[in-house]
């Protein structure tokens, strides 16, 4: 249960960070700053990858859903 809570916290933190990165993508577009927008896009994809990993570790997705229980 402890690790489940840890993964849940990680997902929430990564989702919050992704929201911030999405705002940076918009800001990059508004400022015509490709580096900011592109960097935020790359970082958000990394965050999504980690979210998927956390969900998998929690047993919510993937072929072995019971693994996390």
């Amino acid at each position: 249960m402890g690790s489940q809570r840890l993964y849940l916290l990680a997902v929430v933190a990564l989702a919050g960070g992704s929201l911030l990165l999405a705002a940076l993508i918009i800001l990059g577009e508004l400022r015509d700053d490709s580096a900011l927008g592109g960097g935020a896009l790359g970082a958000i994809l990394v965050a999504y990858g980690l979210i998927v990993l956390c969900l998998r570790k929690m047993g919510l997705i993937g072929p072995r859903r019971a693994e996390g229980k």
Partner: protein, 392 residues
């Protein structure tokens, strides 16, 4: 000595697997997907390469200007270049991991020599395409590596000049060079997919795509590296044929041989590389001697017991060597389970490695290794048990 080194490397590889499996779910261990990761990076390379082609001008006057325009004027242009560049690095890293992993875990013996040989071609052509890619930019680095490439080729006795004409279209740097390099870059990349077909054709369950977490994370990493100030691709100084290049940034994944030329004669680097690559091709044939297992050296090609086969396809799916095919059954089987079969298993002799996996897969006792029958195995086990001294 070689065999002992391989055994040690196998143990270290398996230890590494165990360590990574503590962090990642076992079916998401990236080391189980080195082939899929290579394929993923190749896919990214093809897509980004097609987009880059829209801007590239293949001429001595236009190439550098077009790359500079893309990098500095086109929105997200430098990121597109970065994706192509870092995906190429990722491709080589994944291919090398794939090569070493399969080498250390003995996945190149017997019927798997085909994937090994095609994999070596993929590695060599991948490296060649990468070098071509650096030439296409036609900056000072491109000029330097082209001059070194010409020097290495010219150091080859008899064929050197012809090879230079083949790869550059003339005796040296000329207007005919960049269109030819573009063709070699794109044409050879297309040829990689034909080699991939050869690479996959004999593998029953190839993992050709990594799990979503790796796709997202690695694509993100490639884009991130393309955008960060320290790793962002920039337009260097334009090439000036005739003016010697004193230094250029080095990509260790593709340009290491060119760095070696600074310390060794071109002929030594050329011969060394050739010998190294040829050694790569002979690896599957270095340890052909077989160790008898339970006193049996050759178990014989697996044979289907026609009367028992139900056509269930379990052996067909389980054979890792693609040695079993299902054919329309010419007549019903003899047993009750086989009476209404539609298909019949058939073993392709040239592909069977006598491993016995199909026998384990078959619940109907419809396969056998002719020199290693189940009855013999049971008898041997019974004899071995009887031969053991009684314990309290």
């Amino acid at each position: 000595m070689y065999r002992r080194a391989l055994t040690w490397l196998l143990r270290q590889t398996l230890k590494l697997d165990v360590s990574i499996n503590r962090v990642y779910p076992t079916d998401w261990n990236p080391l189980y997907y080195t082939g899929g990761l290579s394929h993923f990076f190749l896919f990214v390379l093809v897509i980004s390469g097609i987009l880059l082609l829209f801007y590239y001008v293949a001429s001595l006057d236009g190439a550098y200007a077009s790359v500079r325009y893309l990098t500095e004027q086109v929105p997200y242009g430098f990121i597109l270049r970065g994706i192509h560049r870092y995906a190429a690095d990722g491709f080589i890293i994944a291919v090398l991991l794939h090569l070493f992993r399969n080498w250390f875990t003995d996945r190149y013996l017997f019927a798997r020599d085909g994937p090994w040989i095609s994999g070596m071609f993929l590695l060599i052509l991948g490296g060649f395409i990468g070098i071509n890619g650096y030439q296409m930019v036609w900056d000072q680095r491109a000029q330097a590596i082209t001059e070194i490439f010409v020097a290495i080729l010219q150091s080859i006795p008899l064929a050197g000049a012809a090879l230079v004409r083949l790869f550059l279209g003339s005796e040296g740097i000329s207007g005919a060079m960049l269109p030819r390099i573009l063709f070699l870059h794109v044409g050879t990349a297309s040829f990689l997919y034909m080699l991939l077909w050869w690479h996959y054709v004999r593998i029953r369950h190839p993992k050709i795509w990594p799990p979503a977490t790796w796709v997202l994370a690695l694509l993100g990493l490639v884009i991130l590296l393309s955008a960060l100030p320290g790793t962002r691709p920039t337009a260097g100084a334009a090439a000036q044929p005739g003016v010697p290049v004193t230094s250029y940034p080095l990509d260790v994944f593709f340009l290491l041989p060119f760095w070696l030329v600074s310390y060794l004669p071109p002929i030594v680097v050329g011969v060394g590389l050739t010998v190294l690559l040829l050694l790569g091709y002979v690896i599957p044939y270095l340890q052909r001697e077989e160790e008898p297992q339970m006193g049996v050296r050759h178990a014989g090609i697996a044979q289907v017991i026609d009367g028992n086969c139900t056509g269930c396809e379990l052996c067909y799916y389980d054979c890792p060597y693609d040695a079993i095919v299902m054919v329309p059954s010419p007549h019903p089987g003899l047993t009750k389970a086989a009476a209404n079969r539609k298909l019949l298993a058939a073993v392709m002799d040239s592909r069977c490695v006598e491993c016995g996996i199909c026998i384990g897969a078959c619940p109907f006792e419809a396969l056998e290794l002719p020199k290693f029958l189940e009855a013999d195995l049971t008898r041997r086990i019974a004899e071995a048990i009887q031969a053991q001294p009684a314990t309290a």
